[in-house]
């Protein structure tokens, strides 16, 4: 430590450590949050030059106004059947989350992550992509699998790590992998999928394919080098890739200020890379669809990547291992000015006259029944911790394509231990 030189008339330096606007028990007032009117940032042509549309990184793309109407140039004009299909998938995901969360609390699995409040994002985005496009999700986008009709039973088998688990009990619950559904194996390490998605997109481009890649991370993990390496690669090679940042305000307990939100938007990260950047109301399924479609069409036209910030709120805990009451005000969720994505789409469908509360109530019952039936089906294959559902040898398989001698030796040890602990 050096002494301050005598007579130097310099202010003492101070360290800034961000502090969220609200803590437990605080009155929540979001009046400082700028929510522009729909179409405050109109939809440009997909071929627009990135430097001509920088305002989109600082605005907020909205379609649904507070009167539940779809308005403005971003309105995708989706037919009623598509609106209702999205609504149903979102309701199904929420019902699934509720039941799976309870399964974890009942001890049938070790861990679960809900998508509550973020259902519009993965579901509306997947509706805007082609079925053959490749998704590189983070852990809060199971909506992709719902939108692509992946069997719920398979998801629950994975969550229960049972003897029908397609991942053979190797992965933490919800870290699905479904290549046939264009769904890349989820990593628990954050943002690693960013450069991977770009590599996939580069391969697609180099082969003259017409499929594009889409990738997701949270606002917290934009701090990882992988995020920036991915954007650099994507920009350099003009990769057909849609970069998504789900800004749900929280990385476990750390608010978005720890990823830089005090200074600028997450969409603005794209400006430095010279790629188009859109900031979207993530609780507005139509805006999410429209922005994603814009980026996907652009990528498919060889115009390269787009960065989309999906501005939303993580309405529930980070995971079953987390208690948000310990660090944030419970009022945040109820006061969130952009509401709930399912409620907003439902009200829009009712306003259009294609839906009503009775049908909504009936649908809620149906999706709950569907989930229950899938759970019962999956539970026949076992739950975590009750008996041994995967033979020990599966731990040693797939480490290498062909098992080397040292793993064979170790698997023999495992077999001896198992015979000792659980004599058949």
């Amino acid at each position: 430590m050096s002494d301050r030189s005598p007579g130097a008339n310099r202010p003492r330096l101070t360290l800034h450590v961000p502090e969220p606007p609200f803590r437990p028990g605080d009155e929540v007032d979001y009046s400082w949050l700028d929510i522009p009117e729909p179409d405050a940032v109109p939809r440009p042509d997909e071929t627009a030059a990135p430097e001509a549309i920088r305002d989109l990184a600082y605005g907020l793309i909205r379609v649904l106004d507070f009167e539940n109407n779809a308005v403005g140039s971003w309105n995708p004009g989706l037919p009623p059947e598509t609106l209702l299909a999205m609504l149903r998938k979102m309701a199904l995901l929420r019902a699934f989350d509720e039941r799976m969360h309870r399964q974890q609390r009942q001890g049938k699995t070790s861990f679960y992550v809900k998508s509550t409040g973020e259902e519009a994002i993965a579901i509306a985005q997947t509706f805007a992509l082609d079925r053959a496009d490749m998704c590189f999700p983070s852990y809060r986008q199971p909506g992709i699998l719902f939108a692509r009709d992946y069997p719920m039973v398979e998801m629950i088998n994975q969550i229960f790590s049972n003897n029908a688990d397609p991942l053979k009990g190797r992965q933490l619950p919800i870290m699905y992998s479904a290549k046939d559904y264009g769904f890349f194996s989820i990593s628990g390490n954050l943002a690693t999928q960013y450069p991977q998605a770009v590599g996939w997109a580069m391969a697609s481009a180099s082969k003259g394919d017409d499929r594009i890649a889409a990738v997701w991370c949270g606002e917290g993990s934009t701090s990882e080098g992988d995020f920036h390496n991915g954007l650099t690669f994507g920009a350099v090679y003009n990769a057909p890739c849609v970069f998504n940042v789900v800004n749900n305000q929280y990385a476990i307990s750390s608010y978005s200020g720890f990823a830089g939100s005090e200074r600028t938007t997450f969409a603005a990260r794209g400006i430095g890379y010279g790629i188009p950047a859109l900031r979207v109301d993530g609780n507005d399924a139509l805006a999410v669809y429209s922005a994603t479609r814009w980026a996907a069409d652009r990528a498919r036209s060889n115009l390269g990547p787009t960065l989309i910030e999906l501005f939303t709120y993580r309405a529930d805990a980070h995971s079953t291992s987390d208690d948000p009451a310990a660090y944030r005000s419970a009022q945040e969720r109820t006061e969130w000015p952009l509401g709930d994505p399912i409620t907003r789409l439902k009200r829009h469908c009712i306003a259009l006259g294609i839906w009503d509360m009775d049908r909504q109530a009936a649908m809620d019952l149906e999706v709950a029944e569907e989930v229950l039936a899938a759970q019962k089906e999956a539970e026949k294959n076992g739950i975590l911790g009750h008996g041994l559902h995967q033979p020990d040898i599966t731990m040693f398989q797939d480490v290498y394509e062909h098992m080397p001698w040292h793993l064979k030796e170790q698997s023999e040890q495992a077999a001896r231990e198992r015979a000792h602990k659980w004599p058949e």
């Binding site: 390490n189 450069p195 770009v198 996939w200 992988d226 394509e401």
Partner: protein, 339 residues
Amino acid sequence: MARMSMIQAINSALDVTMGRDPDIVILGEDVGYFGGVFRVTAGLQEKYGKERCFDTPITECGIIGAAIGMAAYGLRPVPEIQFADYVYPGLDQIVSEAARLRHRSAGDFQCPLAIRIPFGGGIFGGQTHSQSPEALFTHVAGIKTVVPSNPRDAKGLLIAAIEDNDPVIFFEPKRCYNGPFDGYYDRPAKTWADHPDGEVEDGHYTVPLGKARLVTEGNDLTVLAYGTMVHVAQQVLIEHGLSADLIDLRTLIPLDIETIEASVKKTGRCAIIHEATRTSGFGAELSALVQERCFYHLEAPIERVTGFDTPYPHSLEWSYFPGPVRIGEALERLVKAEA
């Protein structure tokens, strides 16, 4: 057959495989038009096009991450990390992603990568162009680690690595790129022109992964080495008139334990030589395996000859390097030891 340096042999392996399989792509810093800082990829962009051999931004994380995504698409990428000392920013992508992808997805995805990495010292590269970090990789489940010592093996091993469906770390001993290095830095450099292993087949052939090579056969002792140290060990054995099984491991994981075990049981004495730092180096693993499997045949303590546990020093490079004096001392101790 042709005379090749190790650089030419590796270039030939890339050329031969790229010619046979359109899914093989090369990416890395300066590997494209320029052909790489060691010239290993020279001419490949011109021959196969910019989409199959191209320069990258300076981000090893991005290079490995993108290669993993390309592999998930169905390509067989061969990324180059310019120096082993630069691989660390890419370590998470190698360790947490490439190595585990097949296992964590239960075979849904696989990751056929051959990551080429020049390694080792002896070129006055200082602490950032000289390291031998192989033990970081042998410690990780799901990746293979290969180290050739000569042009013929380099070509055959690299083709095997590229055609393998597991991620392979392919360490190229850059001190031996242009000739076998016997440890005498102050003598005129030798080339591969008159070395028997500089004779390389032109077309496609493989040297299987997981198979060591008995370089010399003898009864006094067993020497385990790989990369540059094979040549240094061979020179020291000649100078000291020792009759040894000199085993060039070629692949560290999977290890050819059968060859090692048979030899040590025959000789009863074992020396392990590597250039990397000593503590927790791959020599520690080798020593443990030999002890576990050959203890009752051992007639002397196992000797490890390694680099020191310091950063690779620039001006004191030849004090750091496990050269003929350090190796000679250890081998004499080993053969003279009496129980």
